[in-house]
Amino acid sequence: MLIGKQLAFRYPHHNWIVRNFDIAIAPSEVVGLFGPSGFGKTTLSKLLAGYLTPTQGQVTIDNSPLPDRGYCPVQMVFQNPELAVNPRWRIRKILAEKQPPDRFLLNALSIHPSWLDRYPHELSGGELQRVAVARVLNPATRYLIADEMTAMLDANTQALIWHMVLDYVRSHNIGLLVISHDAALIKRVCNRAINLMQVGTSR
């Protein structure tokens, strides 16, 4: 179980971005998170993935804190894949960062073998996002946070990626947090959803 308990975050001398926030995600559960801009959704996901350290509160997996070095078992996929990959590495190397890419997975994501020898800027946004997704779908990932993962993609590519990710998280018992503005998407893919307008993050 991934648990964020009484999470609070602010930069020194600034207002609270997130405050008193509780969340629990079980393995193989798909949880949606939505609410207007300015509710700290991206800050929350960074706290859960260990990119930021909470000012107060704690993030644990099965009662242990997140490891502070090495591969984090909580991985994120953002809206803009260009920011998530090393621009000077070829796709082959990006994919092999954790383990050699699984041929079946590449196929399912329609990642063409000819892409492997290219650099990130030689792929379109939709192609690169598939690479970013393939990179985090590996046995060391136990929880996945999809922060507007397909907001920049056409509907067909969006559905293609989601089917693949949902199949993968179900068969590997991964817990998934879906952050999106798209109510229809949340309704379609999630078991339950958290509305930040109701629970609040900073009151």
């Binding site: 207007p36 379109s124 939709g126 993609l153 056409d154």
Partner: protein, 309 residues
């Protein structure tokens, strides 16, 4: 107002020594926009949406060869004419505030755009005041830097840049990336208003739902070609013609959420015949012979030889 017919764009890439490679990035692309109309251009990234905008604005790179017809108000859009009209009769609403100068007050920048379009200094100043008031941007916003704008404010400032130039044709390139639905609707409504005032509006987007909120017609791009130009109501009336358009519609989460597999071909590996043939559920031998011409089916043009089935 604007008519693009059979546009082809090829890039010449220079390799080592004398080796040259030709990459065809746009094949038989068509689009037309009338005054008072919003035409959405919808497709995946890499489908040629942005290249079309660059061609209309005359900002393609030097190694691009262009053939086909581009007419603006009946006259050919030559490179010189593109450059003359850009920022005046034809304006771009950029994708993000990244296009603004980060070190200059936004009011000053919008005013500069107005002056570049040919207004005198006082007239430009008045146009900025009027436009900011129209978009509920308080006078104080003029004195902010781009990074100080909220998401919704930034959208309204970007729309203002096109409005002060008094353009007749407005091109909005992905104006709603990852925004909250309320801001998306507001931005789209602003574009719709511009069309109601008689401008022609091209809305470039990957988001078919956003397009359908305001467009009169929807041009669907795939692998650098126009596969169909549908009327907006054709989508919900079950009249869309091309199998790719149908796949886009069917794959929306509020519809069936069923995608077709595979990916768009890259310019160095385009299939023979129909550009969609390697993914098409209806493909036949005949599809692989020639690029399909535009056929009129159920009242709109489509590049598919089996669309009337």
């Amino acid at each position: 107002m604007l008519s693009v017919q059979d546009l082809n764009i090829t890039f010449t890439l220079y390799g080592r020594g004398l080796a040259q490679k030709q990459l065809t990035v746009i094949t038989q692309l068509d689009l037309d926009v009338k005054a008072g109309e919003v035409v959405a251009v919808v497709g995946a990234s890499g489908s040629g949406k942005s290249l079309l905008a660059h061609a209309i604005l005359g900002i393609l790179p030097d190694n691009a060869q262009v053939s086909g017809k581009m007419l603006f108000k009946g006259e050919p859009l030559t490179l010189n004419r593109c450059q003359d009209l850009r920022g005046k009769a034809i304006a771009l609403i950029p994708q993000s505030i990244g296009y603004l100068d980060p070190l200059m007050h936004v009011g000053q920048q919008v005013q500069r755009t107005a002056q570049l379009s040919g207004l005198s200094r006082p007239a430009a100043k008045a146009a900025v005041d009027r436009t900011f008031a129209r978009y509920r941007l308080a006078a104080i916003v003029q004195r902010l830097y781009p990074f100080q704008l909220s998401g919704g404010m930034a959208r309204r400032v970007l729309v203002s840049t096109a409005v002060v130039s008094q353009a007749e044709l407005v091109i909005a390139d992905e104006p709603t990336p990852g925004l909250h639905p309320d801001v998306v609707t507001e931005t789209l409504n602003h574009l719709r208003e511009l069309a109601s005032e008689g401008k022609g509006v091209i809305l470039i987007t990957h988001d078919i739902e956003a397009a359908l909120q305001i467009a009169d017609r929807v041009a669907v791009f795939y692998a650098g070609t126009t596969v169909e130009i549908a009327h907006a109501q054709d989508f919900s009336n079950n009249k869309i013609r091309h199998p790719y358009t149908q796949a886009l519609w069917r794959s929306l989460p509020q519809n069936e959420f069923i995608p077709i597999s595979g990916s768009q071909p890259t310019p160095d590996a385009l299939p023979d015949g129909c550009l969609f043939s390697d993914r098409c559920p209806w493909v036949t031998q005949e599809c692989r012979l020639d690029r399909p011409p535009f056929l009129q089916v159920r009242g709109a043009p489509v590049r598919c030889i089996h669309a009337d089935r």
